[in-house]
């Protein structure tokens, strides 16, 4: 094991390199570009034996990735925001064809009122594409999640693409201490990729025919089941990762002080670190605060959340993107997951367009949830950190 000081983008690139990725189609977009730049350096320095394919657009990046994965080799790429949106059409071809492509999406706000800073409205818009989605908290997890993503994607019980989502700039361009595993350890955890199906003239097959109503519904149902069944494999991969590398992340969700918590927040991405600190402060004040870290948006942990919230009076849900007229996407899904248990669910939108989430805002979120847990009336959804008179 070596310790290096790396940005999350570089940590992801190291993971893709140690995974012995064979094809890397790429197109630049801030704040993702450091990933493909680093991979290009690895390849040109002979440290990674892979094809680096500079495409004409992100649409072509995903198309090349599909061709390469259908051709039977391990394929990795990275994108962000507008780039992910441009891939949208092609994203849908990947899960249904069971191609285990791994992609890092460096979260960045999408669309008008646009900037280059973190917001989750790029990847949240793709949550119904069939891709598995992980959100990470720090640079070490960005690396580890990327390694786990290959293992999970290529498991024959899964065979689905995985998107590793990391906060633009807060992680992508900020350096932290990262433990780099040894190549032999990674090779043990992630053996050489053997495709189940591949485009090969010695065994001709048609991949992705036109499908009539007679068959399409069953295919979509099979995809639904495959995404659901990946939950078991995620738990296994988490355990095996811990055995190999000594770090355990908890699978679909991670819990902090939830055993006796009366109220809690559910967070994803970098806001989790701040939430953990806030829980510590509140616990020191004798208040029974807890925290659930959402690691996977797909598969969504419906059962796991119900289990974790059985004795909880109120759960606040953090969203770094809005669904408009209904809070954020994580809030609506958590509310659906908990609709058969008495826990009150509140929505908390913050950090939009890269706005800093200060300790005060996180404290404010916890205060609202605590009030709800005591039976006080609170807003169903609160935007934290709005400036000016926005009523």
């Amino acid at each position: 094991m070596r310790v290096r000081v790396l940005s999350a983008d570089h940590a992801v690139a190291y993971a893709a390199k140690m995974a012995r990725t064979e094809v890397v189609p790429s197109f630049p977009i801030t704040p993702q570009t450091l990933i493909v730049e680093q991979l290009a350096e690895f390849i040109n320095d002979g440290e990674l034996d892979a094809d680096f394919i500079p495409a004409d657009s992100e649409h072509s990046v995903m198309s090349i990735a599909i061709g390469a994965s259908a051709g039977g080799v391990r394929t990795f790429t990275a994108t962000s925001s507008q780039g992910l949106a441009l891939m949208h059409e092609m994203l849908y071809a990947v899960p249904q064809n069971r191609l285990p492509i791994v992609m890092a999406n460096v979260n960045r706000s999408l669309g008008a009122a646009s900037g280059i800073w973190v917001e989750y409205n790029d990847s949240m818009a793709e949550r119904d594409s069939g891709w598995l989605q992980m959100y990470v908290e720090d640079n070490q997890e960005a690396m580890d999640a990327t390694l786990m993503a290959f293992r999970l994607a290529e498991d024959r019980r899964v065979l689905l693409p995985v998107m590793v989502c990391l906060d633009g700039f807060i992680l992508s361009h900020t350096v932290e201490k990262v433990e780099l595993p040894e190549q032999e350890e990674v090779d043990r955890f992630l053996p050489r990729y053997e495709p189940l199906n591949a485009l090969d003239p010695s065994n001709p097959m048609l991949i992705n025919a036109i499908v009539s109503p007679d068959y399409a519904m069953e295919m979509r149902y099979q995809l639904d089941r495959a995404v659901d069944h990946s939950r078991e494999v995620i738990a296994e991969v988490d355990a095996e990762f811990a055995n190999t590398f000594g770090r355990r992340y908890g699978g679909l969700i991670d819990q902090y002080h939830m055993e006796d918590a009366e109220f809690a927040m559910l967070t994803l991405g970098t806001a989790t670190g701040l939430a953990r600190r806030t829980v510590d402060e509140m616990r020191a004040e004798g208040r029974k605060a807890g925290l659930i870290k959402l690691r996977f948006m797909r598969p969504f942990p419906f059962n796991e959340l119900c289990g974790a919230c059985q004795n909880l009076k109120a759960l606040g849900v953090f969203d770094r993107s809005a669904s408009f007229n209904g809070g954020g996407p994580v809030y609506t899904e958590v509310a659906a997951a908990l609709c058969n248990i008495p826990t009150i669910v509140t929505g908390h939108v913050a950090g939009i367009g890269g706005r800093d989430i200060t300790p005060e805002y996180m404290r404010e979120m916890y205060d609202v949830v605590e009030s709800a847990s005591k039976g006080e009336e609170v807003r169903p959804v609160t935007w934290h950190g709005l400036r000016g008179d926005m009523e």
Partner: protein
């Protein structure tokens, strides 16, 4: 596989890789082109087909008319997906010819960017444009390949505007600008020429491009028995020209003796039936310009004699032909 180089129609293997039972219309020029291209390319081939008539007629689950590996995903990405397939197969030690079989809409218009990317990177793929001059699969809409004057459902014959007002895009000039190892235009009415060009493209490395005119019975409103005759007349009137660009040198592979009047071509197709003298003269003038640019201005063509504004000069870049 036969080691002998194919040079005439008699050398085409009878072993079909694109088999019968597909859903193409009677008289479909595209089906004729694909059947013969696949015979020449043989079993060691991997096919990508974007959204088009071809995917619909050949790949309805759970059947396939291709005996080779086959992938379809979307409309605009033939240059990109074939790039990925080839990269993977090269890494896995496979030598197969990766071919993209795309229509004109998927090539001239929506697929142009991915095509340019693949050509610029000189990817080791064979790109075939099956040009029926419109979006026929979606019900006959205008594309950048549709000729001047033609009726389509989006260039209807109205009281103020009749048919397409723009001329056909010079796609091959765009391809030639990428300086690919090989590019050629093909006609299903010139089969010995067809065979040689597919064979040549198959045996080269790097980016190869074949442009085939494929008459479309419902889209052109023509008689199914006249498909090959229409393809032949396209060449005789200058609506289609046969040439190749081999490692940068351009060469005409067939030159008609005398330019036939364009009306010989138009009159066999309902899509031109509305055209009146003004538009016909405009199309004829454009064709005469193209003819002289392509074949040189030495011998005057009788059909062009009455037109005053014809430029009898070759393209300024002598070796770079200008194509239709």
């Amino acid at each position: 596989m036969s080691e002998r180089e194919m040079s005439t129609i008699k050398d085409i293997p009878a072993n079909d890789m694109f088999i019968s039972g597909h859903g193409a219309c009677a008289g479909c020029g595209m089906a004729v082109a694909v059947k013969n291209i696949m015979r020449i390319l043989g079993a060691n081939t991997t096919v990508y087909v974007p959204a088009s008539c071809l995917v619909v007629i050949s790949a309805m689950y759970p059947t396939s008319n291709f005996r080779t590996p086959y992938l379809y995903t979307a409309f605009e990405n033939t240059g990109a997906v074939t790039t990925g397939i080839r990269a993977a197969q090269r890494r896995r030690g496979l030598s197969s010819t990766v071919v993209g079989l795309a229509g004109d809409g998927g090539t001239f218009d929506i697929g142009l960017q991915a095509l340019s990317g693949a050509a610029e990177r000189n990817e080791d793929i064979l790109y075939v444009c099956l040009d029926n001059e419109g979006y026929m699969n979606t019900g006959i809409q205008r594309s950048g390949a549709t000729p001047f004057g033609a009726w389509t459902t989006t260039t209807p014959i109205g009281t103020k505007v009749e048919g397409k007002r723009e001329f056909k895009k010079d796609l091959m000039a765009i391809i030639a600008a990428h300086d690919p190892p090989y590019a050629a235009s093909l006609s299903i009415a010139h089969f010995n020429d067809f065979v040689k060009k597919v064979e040549k493209a198959k045996n080269k490395e790097g980016f190869r491009f074949l442009h085939v005119m494929t008459p479309c019975v419902p889209g052109w409103k023509s008689d199914p028995s006249m498909t090959v005759e229409i393809a032949r007349l396209a060449v005789e009137t200058g609506m289609w020209t046969l040439y190749e660009i081999d490692e940068g040198s351009a060469r005409t592979t067939y030159k008609p003796q005398t330019m036939q009047p364009v009306t010989e071509y138009l009159k066999l197709q309902g899509r031109f039936r509305h055209m009146e003298n003004g538009d016909i003269a405009k199309l004829q003038e454009w064709l005469c310009d193209k003819w002289y640019l392509h074949y040189g201005g030495d011998g005057e063509q009788p059909v062009c004699a009455s037109l005053d504004k014809i430029k009898k000069v070759r393209h300024p870049h002598e070796e770079q032909l200008h194509f239709i």
